[in-house]
Symmetry: C2
Subunit: 287 residues, 2 copies
């Protein structure tokens, strides 16, 4: 018997493990939903790579999830959201959510008078997507955007409370702090791990926005609007797929997710692609 | 008419742009040789990723070069040398050189009495390959190995003479300095860029070994022994292939190579693989 659409899982993908912060927020907001997480750890990071490469990767990642029968695709990676969200939305026949729009909405909501700062990977900042969103209310001079390339390796190395992170904050954030931003968007799913150091540097008056919670609320709204919400008595199951098990996986995965990850499936997207197993014509075969 | 084997290019691959330091040494030592460089910038870095993933990537990278008709494959990436050199040597019907053995040989040559230090990616250090090589002369207690995961992003960000790099040196190298190593192997092709900061921290009595020059000498020996040396009056041509053009390519590429890179071909290995164009049966078709 076909599985009803409401019972299908939500699919979440990210370039690596940073998106586990988004998975965590989604699971807290929607504990009844089954969620499949795919982290492209074999090709992480996306944030330093060109737009076309990120688009091609995201298209493969999304098709992997679609072939597992998901009812919605969440792009947990900011860089992939910046470069591939429109493309995925056009090409896929199911709801696709990125993290940038919820982050913008949250910033517009909490900022009192601006200016607003946004930090992210080189790719995300170069794309200008956050800046475009913020331009709905702010003048260009009120929007300060800054790539912070070392924040991803610092978070992945677990240097949360470390003098290297303190120094990197001074390096990247001094200009934003001196400009008096009242709100700072953490425009990369790795950055919430560094929140204590960032908050400490920016001071108590600056509100830090990460899109995970806003995205979870948006996902709930979209599912409800589409009649796709899971029955509330379900105990949501989380499944983890990665394209590589990095050396730091156990430690870093637990740090991002907030608990240990018991079981992980490893997948080779290129082999699946070569075998035709990412073709969209297969979509939903397994129902 | 078939191209004589001596006229074929040397193939060099790396996870990204770090291997350009090796290309540079090869070109200086063998200015008559044509050299093809492939940097897997779409999937860089390799150093954080698991052994099986690195092996699969290296096998694809090497076949790409073999299909361009190279007479020798140089694995310029330490992590790929650590995990894939034996495999490539077994499977390919042409000379394959890695950077670890030349690095070990150079360290054994310059160290007076030890202890000897080796730094590299998490993958390279975990593999134990440098430690095995050094064990030919040194006791385990005389060999100090340490992964320095932030050195790759610091080099790629161009933070050569920067307080973050100074602090990272203190973080990673204090133990090695305090143990009195007389020689330190820079076991990652990115690290030579950070040589000034590393040398400054370690002090004037510690010899820094990078394998680029030793490898170039070894490559010359291997080509000569195999009767594969190019005629000396040839003006060696360098060709560059990358799987992605990263945002920082122009600046970082020039820094690693020591001069600007005029022309780059971008290639998608997965598409080539899917089209059967990495098959070894095609090897030499173009001669």
């Amino acid at each position: 018997m076909a599985r009803p659409d409401t019972a299908r899982p939500i699919g979440v993908f990210d370039s690596g493990l940073g998106g586990l912060t988004v998975l965590r927020a989604l699971h807290q907001r929607l504990p009844g939903e089954d969620i499949i997480y795919f982290g492209d750890t074999a090709r992480v990071p996306y944030g330093t790579k060109g737009a076309g490469t990120v688009q091609a990767f995201a298209w493969q990642d999304a098709r992997f999830l679609v072939n597992l029968g998901v009812k919605m695709v969440v792009v947990a990676c900011n860089t992939a959201s910046a470069f591939a969200l429109d493309d995925l939305t056009d090409r896929l026949d199911l709801p696709v959510l990125g993290v940038i729009e919820p982050g913008v909405a949250a910033a517009l909501d909490v900022s009192r008078s601006g200016p607003v700062g946004v930090i992210g990977t080189r790719g995300t900042i170069t794309s200008g997507r956050y800046q475009e969103g913020l331009a709905r209310r702010f003048e260009p001079a009120q929007i300060l955007a800054r790539p912070c390339p070392l924040f991803v390796p610092l978070a992945e190395e677990g240097l949360i409370d470390h003098r290297l992170t303190t120094l990197a904050c001074a390096e990247y954030l001094t200009e934003l702090r001196d400009a008096g931003v009242d709100t700072l968007i953490l425009g990369c799913t790795h950055y919430p791990l560094l929140k204590p150091a960032i908050a400490d540097f920016m001071g108590p008056d600056v509100r830090l926005v990460d899109s995970a919670e806003t995205l979870a609320a948006a996902a709930a709204d979209r599912l409800e609007a589409a009649g796709l919400l899971q029955k509330q008595d379900n105990a949501g199951r989380l499944d983890f797929y990665l394209s590589d098990i990095p050396w730091t996986f156990t430690e870093v995965g637990a740090r991002f997710l907030g608990r240990a990850i018991d079981e992980v499936h490893t997948v080779n997207l290129d082999e699946l692609e070569g075998a035709g197993r990412l073709d969209l014509s297969r979509k939903g075969d397994e129902t």
